[in-house]
């Protein structure tokens, strides 16, 4: 058609898409050691829901306390390629979270492609508190594509990471007598005024 009457010149007609939340089963996390405050290797399994862009980025959001050692490295395999490959890893920490960023060099990957990612030297949380880990995929220029439900996955440590000794400092050890015990505790980390010690 030729010779239009009116047009939308000057009108800002744009939309901004929003990231899609993948099903809970599409993202899982496991680790070699569940001891509090212990550095261990984490394994993240991610199934692509829509697509993974070429040279895409994966961001893992962890609690601040789950720091990543400077010696950490990340490798991955794909369901379509069992070759174990390295992936560039960076992380940044603020008062609310620790973000691990993995920058891949893959081609565009279709839905149902499974990433199995191993990252070493991640510090387990310092308590048995359940923590949530979220994953977000982005394009190479940083625009989000799909994300896991923040509440979908949580981890809980199971092993203690501290020692305690108790000693009887009294000379009278008759049963039934009230005596004073001295407990010596090696603190696992910085104690906050809000922290509790339960014996």
């Amino acid at each position: 058609m030729t010779n239009p009457v009116d047009d939308s010149t000057g009108h800002n007609l744009t939309i901004t898409p929003s990231a899609i939340t993948i099903p809970n089963s599409y993202f899982t996390v496991s680790r070699a050691d569940t001891t509090n405050m212990k550095y261990t290797t984490y394994t993240f399994t991610y199934r692509v829901y829509t697509s993974f862009p070429a040279n895409g980025i994966m961001t893992l959001i962890l609690p601040t306390a789950m720091v990543v050692s400077s010696g950490a490295n990340a490798t991955y395999t794909l369901s379509s390629d069992a070759t174990n490959q390295s992936v560039a890893i960076t992380n940044s920490t603020n008062s609310t979270s620790n973000r691990i960023t993995l920058t891949f060099t893959t081609a565009t990957l279709p839905s149902n492609t499974v990433f199995t990612i191993a990252i070493s030297n991640i510090l387990n949380y310092y308590s048995y508190k359940p923590i949530n880990i979220q994953m977000i995929t982005s394009s190479s220029d940083g625009f989000a594509i799909e994300q896991s439900n923040l509440a979908a996955f949580s981890l809980t440590n199971t092993a203690p990471d501290t020692t305690i000794t108790a000693s009887d400092s009294n000379s009278n050890t008759v049963n039934g007598n009230s005596i004073t015990y001295v407990f010596a505790i090696r603190t696992p980390s910085l104690l906050y005024t809000t922290d509790l010690i339960s014996i």
Binding site: M1, D7, S8, T16, A19, I145
Partner: protein, 544 residues
Amino acid sequence: MKHLFTLLLAAFITIIRSDPQITVSPSLNKINQVTTYVFTFNIGVTSILPGTATISFPSPAYSFNTSSITSCYDSTDTSILFGCTLTNSSAFSFRWTSAMSEQIFMSISSIKNPSYVDNYAVSFSFVSDSGTPFTTVSSSINSLQPDELTSCSMSFSPTFTNTYSAVTFSLVNKSPIPAGGSLQLTFVGYTPASNGTSLSISVTTGASFINASSISTLIGAYYLLANFFTTAVPSSTTLVFTLSFMLSPPTTGSSFSITMLTYASTNFQYKIDERSCSISGITDLPTPSLSVYTSTSTTLRVGANRASLSMEFKAPSLINFTTDIITVQVASSSSQYLFIFTLSAVPLSNNVTGSSLAGSNTTTGIFFPNVLTSSTISSGTGTRVTGFFLNTLINSGTKTVTVQFSRSNVSYSSNTATIIVHPNILVSASVTPTSTLVLTSTTYSFVLQTANPLGVAAAVVITLPTNVTIASGSCSVSASLSATSSLSSGIACNAAGQVINVTNITSTIIAANTTITLNISGITNPAVTKATNTFFYQTYYGTG
């Protein structure tokens, strides 16, 4: 006595004898024609003395042989024959007997006219049998006419009016042309003023006959080419030659011609063949520096009511409004949507003599002046004309404006200019997908409010930004109008690449400020959460 007798005899002779007389004319007057010559001879005496009359023709213009005089008879009674005999190659004689009258009318055939026009004197002499010579008298044949060239034609290059052009002539002569002959070109209908440059001659056909160095002389409407034919040209010879820098006619009319005339001599005496050749194929001189425009601060948009226009040009020649008019009109394809009309006066630039000119409307434009005046514009004068206005436009695009200059209703210059009409801007527009999730196929709601009316079967074209996609082919649309009664039941949707065409939206004309809502399903969001480029809407008028 003897003296008295002599006087009486002389008186007797004086009384009864006067000088002979002759009239002569050919029946056919063109050169080289073989025809019957009609004579009137009067012997000058009533009492006939028998003798021999001799008719002499100028030589070598006339050349007889034994077969030339085939018949010699009384013009009034063809049964009466005179015994004409050749005395030499240019004369014949006959007996004037006493039985013949003082005056006889004689027709002689067949005599060939001379090969060129001149006054030819034919003499009549008589000697009686007794040896008395009568006075020789003569009569001129001055009725001969040139014959006609077998054919002639010409073409101008360039073909523009009022332009110094190379003119290629093609002619076929009927009659031979002797060496040294000349050529005359007579312009009919206009005077071909010289540009100060002598004509140059180039010959395409017949180079052995034409003197390419012939000097041309322009006298009024005549071009004279002396000694044009360097060697004798046989009859029925085709000659093609080009003369440069001849001024073309002032208009494209059909009334102009050039008469070509060959002469037997260098000095333009003795006509041979002549023919009038029409000048055709002359086209309008492109009007220099023509432009039509709106005010530089105005972007001409659809819906502009009575936008002011100006026109500029350089006068292609002297424009004299006692005979000339200027017509401004729009090409027929867009005349439905664009109409130029003027106010009552059209002021011209200050370098034009005369006062402002009034114009009149036509169905496709205007012309001025509508009353001829004595105003003039000198040739080459840069001229601005204001006072044009556009009617309300109903769609955009490049509109072609044709300006034509005419003299006495015959055009002589024209050119085209364009004005660009831009679409107007929608009053409002929005785009809302039902779902914004990446890579999700969803329904988009496109809402637009028109700035201008739309006709029946109006259309909307939506161009999607990159990464928003729809399958090519038929698409599903649900539409509504704020003017609900104008919604067509036959709306169609078709997608091709990034473009969605929604057609046949309206069943009647809808006014400006009408809101159109188009809900189209099956559009897929981009794959990432980056803001898209802009969607683009265009409305199209339809019909009516």
